[in-house]
Every structure is written in structure tokens, then in C-alpha cells.
């Protein structure tokens, strides 16, 4: 079952996301955005995503660092499914080999 706190979190997530969807159309649609605002708005999502996975970079395991590097190279060249498989495979294998 879904508890109230989880439900509240999910409903609020949906609400702020909907606000971002209509906000650009309602508030910014009529005017030119400055290049600076555009740059910041374009950089923000990547900043959050990399921050979420930052702990993986400082886990203190050499195997994880190598696996991350391998995964990053895969991500730059391949589509989602092969990248995920390479990420899982390299992490599993390297942990097994290097401990």
C-alpha cells in the first residue's frame, strides 16, 4: 500500500513538474529570454543529475572508478540499453576481480 507521506511526495512532484510545463508557455512565451537565462536553464538539469550520482565517484573503491570511466565512455557513444548493460557488467566484473 502507499502511505500518506509517499503519496504527498508523489503528488507534489507531479504538481511542480506540471508548473514547469505550463510556466514557460504562460510566463516566458511572450518575451525574449536573455542568453544568460537560457544558459543557466540549460545547465541546471545536468548539474542536478551529476550531483545525484556524485557519491558513486567517491565510494573509495578503485573498481567503481574504473567502471564509471568505462560507463562514461559507453554513454558518449552508445544508446541507453548497451550503456546500462556495460555499466552493470563492468562494475560487477571489476568488483569481483579487484574487490
Amino acid at each position: 500500500m502507499i502511505d500518506g507521506w509517499t503519496l504527498a511526495t508523489i503528488v507534489l512532484m507531479g504538481s511542480v513538474t506540471y508548473l514547469t510545463r505550463i510556466g514557460g508557455y504562460l510566463l516566458l512565451g511572450g518575451r525574449e529570454l536573455s542568453t544568460r537565462t537560457m544558459t543557466v536553464l540549460e545547465a541546471a538539469p545536468g548539474c542536478v543529475l551529476i550531483a545525484v550520482i556524485a557519491p558513486a565517484f567517491v565510494s573509495g573503491r578503485v573498481s567503481d572508478l574504473i567502471a564509471l570511466a568505462v560507463t562514461a565512455v559507453a554513454a558518449a557513444r552508445l544508446s541507453l540499453l548497451p550503456t546500462v548493460l556495460i555499466g552493470i557488467g563492468s562494475a560487477g566484473l571489476l568488483r569481483h576481480l579487484l574487490g
Binding site: 502507499i2 507521506w5 509517499t6 503519496l7 511526495t9 508523489i10 507534489l12 512532484m13 507531479g14 511542480v16 513538474t17 506540471y18 514547469t20 510545463r21 505550463i22 510556466g23 514557460g24 508557455y25 504562460l26 516566458l28 512565451g29 536573455s34 544568460r36 537560457m38 544558459t39 543557466v40 536553464l41 540549460e42 545547465a43 541546471a44 538539469p45 545536468g46 548539474c47 542536478v48 543529475l49 551529476i50 550531483a51 545525484v52 550520482i53 556524485a54 557519491p55 558513486a56 565517484f57 567517491v58 567502471a67 564509471l68 560507463t71 554513454a75 544508446s79 550503456t83 546500462v84 556495460i86 555499466g87 552493470i88 557488467g89 562494475a91 560487477g92 566484473l93 571489476l94 568488483r95
Partner: protein, 222 residues
């Protein structure tokens, strides 16, 4: 809806991984389609599940959702000139379904069919067709992933946790605008990693993101 077929195939593995990871983090199987159906923005759902605890940190997760989805503001603003001929009572509900894929495809479709004018070129039907396909398969396959998750559970030991960084890195590749534009990301990574080592809890995410956004603001010349 037929036009969205290649997109749909690409999103199936991501949806399955998200659903499986979500139940692994303690979300009820029913909560997964609820989240993906109400929120319907993959990047923020991966971020939310990555930070999920039982009970979840509401402010942190909602704040991170807002930041990841801030790019919708740019997307909505670029779409606005193409929507002037449509009444708001149609546009506002339709925008609920705006995702990277439907936005990009509808905009491309409008640009190829427009004859020097913005107005009639944008096809709401085309936009809704692509969006509906993405919506049904995203919610459906994340729900399926949530049901399969417990079955796959013990694969986690074998490096399954690397699926998250892998998905995120692919998402970021899609946002890549060159090394200069990636400097804020690097700053965010370094600050987030540092804060993670020093302060327990999920606060490394807003700290890193805030540092990265500040650098983006400072380095982007007005």
C-alpha cells in the same frame, strides 16, 4: 502515434530499470505508475528514486524534481509562438504531456510544414499522438519494471547499482553542448562529492546543483 514508434522502443529499457530500482528502494509497486503517471518526466523520476528513502525526504525530492524539470520552462517558451492560434483551455491540458521527445518531434513537424507562418503549422493532433504513445508506454513499462523488480532483486550485488550512473550519463550526453557548457556540471560533481563525504543525508544534491548553477550564471556573460 505511429511516428513515435522508434522513441517508444528506446524508452522501454529505461522504464523497466526505473520501475525495478524504485521497488528496490522500497516504493510500493502501485506507487511507481502513480509517480510516472502524475509526474511523467523520466529524468526527475530517476533522480527521485536515486534519493528515495522510507519515508522519503519530501522537500529534497520535490526540490530536485523542480530543478531537473526546469528545462521545461525553456521548452514551453520556445513552443509558445507556435501555440498562439490555440485556446488556453486546449493548450494547458496538452502541456501536461510535454516531454523532450514530443516537444522535439512536434516542433520539427511544425517547422517542416510551416509556410512562413507560425500559426496553423503546429499540429496539436500530432503532438498529442506522439505524447500519448510515450505516456502509455512509460507508465506501463515502469509499472512492469516495478512488478519484475523483486524478481531481479539480487542482481544488485552484481553491479546493478551502476545502472543509475549509466542512465544519468546517457541523459547528460543528450544535454551536451560542448566542454565549456559542461564546466558547471564538473563544479556540481566536485561540490556534491565533497558535501557527500562530509555531511550525511541527501543534501549533497542541492549543494552541488546550486554551486554548478552559480558557476553557470557567473560564467555566462550577460
Amino acid at each position: 502515434m505511429r511516428a513515435s514508434a522508434p522513441v517508444l522502443i528506446g524508452l522501454v529499457p529505461a522504464a523497466l530499470v526505473l520501475g525495478a530500482q524504485a521497488t528496490g528502494k522500497g516504493l510500493a509497486p502501485l506507487a511507481v505508475p502513480l509517480m510516472t503517471g502524475l509526474n511523467f518526466a523520466g529524468g526527475s523520476e530517476f533522480a527521485a528514486v536515486g534519493l528515495w528513502t522510507s519515508p522519503p525526504h519530501l522537500l529534497l525530492i520535490v526540490g530536485v524534481t523542480l530543478l531537473v524539470n526546469s528545462r521545461h520552462l525553456v521548452m514551453g517558451a520556445t513552443l509558445a509562438p507556435w501555440l498562439r492560434h490555440l485556446p488556453r483551455r486546449q493548450v494547458l491540458p496538452a502541456l501536461f504531456l510535454m516531454v523532450d521527445e514530443s516537444w522535439a518531434m512536434a516542433l520539427a513537424d511544425a517547422k517542416t510544414s510551416h509556410a512562413g507562418k507560425f500559426e496553423p503549422a503546429f499540429s496539436l493532433r500530432y503532438f498529442l499522438g506522439v505524447s500519448a504513445g510515450v505516456y502509455v508506454s512509460w507508465v506501463g513499462f515502469t509499472a512492469l519494471g516495478a512488478l519484475l523488480g523483486p524478481v531481479l532483486g539480487d542482481i544488485e550485488r552484481w553491479g546493478f547499482d551502476m545502472a543509475f550512473p549509466a542512465v544519468f550519463l546517457v541523459l547528460m550526453r543528450g544535454m551536451w553542448k560542448g566542454f565549456g557548457a559542461a564546466v558547471p556540471w564538473l563544479v556540481s560533481l566536485v561540490v556534491a562529492a565533497g558535501v557527500h563525504l562530509m555531511i550525511p543525508g541527501g543534501w549533497y544534491v542541492p549543494a552541488g546543483a546550486a554551486a554548478g548553477i552559480a558557476v553557470a550564471w557567473i560564467t555566462a556573460l550577460p
